[in-house]
Amino acid sequence: MGDKPLNGAERLEKVIDGLGEYITSAPDQELLDAAREDERDVAQTSTRVKGILKRAVRTQQQVQLIAAREGFRREAAAMAQKSFELPKTKEARRGLFMAAIAQLPQLQPAFTLQNRDFKDFSDEDIEVQLRKMALLDVLSKVQFSEEE
């Protein structure tokens, strides 16, 4: 008395709970007989249910992996769309890159093996590295004027 009437979802939940309880407590033979009476293939049903449970457990275990996959896809798509405010001329882009390397010496190891004095860096190489630095908000710390 005084209980709030159940909505559809709550009623369904109750029915499923009751059914689960019945299945858990019912003797195995009774369940097998009931399945056979319904002309069900017990082995096939068992394989199907095991598959469903395995997939559910796997999805649950991989919640973080699935989220990371989605996060990576989102960021990759955003990065492809993103435009970075880089200097217009290739000389200025090279200048900015050299300024970043000079002012942030901790970045040097990433490049030393590529080209020790950066002479052979193509404009494309420079742009790739500048985009990465921009993505990590490193360039905002670099003092550089395009007129220099």
């Binding site: 990065m79 590529q114 990590l136």
Partner: protein, 275 residues
């Protein structure tokens, strides 16, 4: 985000990865705070720039996919193990040659190997498989991994006594043996004997891989080595670099050497007793 102190095993467990096909390096790196991009790089396989808790790893888009995966895993190793040093640039040579020294490159290689070829998944697939290039290729395909890293795993976690060695310009750069089974005194020479498959690989630059049963005394100086044969399989990793697998398909030499060593130890202890 997964903590920097996490081991490869812990990372895989956190992400619920239990099968080779689920080892998605882009997603794993993302979960660790590193974003992987693929670009044309000249002169290096990969690099990483990290600031605070975020990093961008760039791998050379011109490399094979398996190499890209290993390079990404290697850079992620720097990110997880050497954080604080905000940038690394790593060459292909480092990823092949740095396996035995105690330095950041070796640690990064080990990290990549543990992450992308986890023992829990690798060992069951390697069980009972011959230590040859064919097995390496099969397993490398299953894990989408480089042959060198896979070959090393096969030697360390396969079922049989074996040694893997990396040769550059005809000289040994490093070697690793299955420690429990191969006696420590079975050491490889710095330069392979002319009768070995390895030496032939350096003579014939067009050979991409080769194998043969080789008399053990062509590799080892241990007593009576001329009586035994070992399986030698080689594959090329560059114009002047070769990975060699030595497998005691017939383990009799190891058994005889171990017995001889036991007899010597017994004699020594008898002598000590009498003294």
């Amino acid at each position: 985000m997964i903590e920097a102190s996490a081991t490869p095993d812990q990372i895989l467990k956190t992400l619920g990865i239990t099968e080779p096909s689920d080892i998605d390096i882009d997603a794993i790196a993302y979960a660790c705070g590193a974003f992987i991009t693929r670009e044309t790089l000249s002169g290096c396989e990969a690099n990483i720039i990290g600031v605070d808790d975020r990093a961008v790893i760039t791998v050379n888009s011109r490399s094979l996919e398996s190499r890209q995966r290993f390079s990404a895993g290697h850079e992620l190793g720097h990110w997880m193990r050497d954080r604080g040093q905000s940038a690394f640039g790593c060459s292909d040579r480092q990823m092949h040659s740095e396996w035995t020294a105690n330095n950041p490159e070796t640690r990064a290689n080990r990290f990549a190997s543990d992450l992308l070829l986890p023992v829990s998944m690798f060992a069951p697939l390697a069980r009972g498989k011959p230590v040859t290039t064919e097995t390496v290729v099969t397993l490398a395909t299953a894990f989408n991994m480089s042959r060198t890293a896979t070959a090393m795993r096969l030697v360390e976690h396969g079922s049989f006594p074996a040694i893997i060695a990396y040769f550059e310009s005809g000289q040994k750069n490093w070697s690793i043996s299955k420690r429990k089974e191969v006696p420590a005194y079975l050491k490889l020479p710095e330069i392979p004997a002319p009768q070995t498959v390895t030496a032939t690989m350096f003579e014939e630059a067009t050979l991409s891989e080769d194998s043969d049963d080789i008399r053990a005394d062509h590799w080892f100086t241990a007593d009576r080595s001329e009586k035994y044969y070992i399986r030698e399989s080689c594959f090329r990793t560059g114009p002047d670099s070769v990975v060699t697998l030595l497998w005691w398909k017939d383990e009799q030499q190891i058994i005889d050497l171990n017995e001889a060593e036991e007899r010597r130890a017994e004699r020594r202890s008898d002598g000590d007793w009498e003294r």
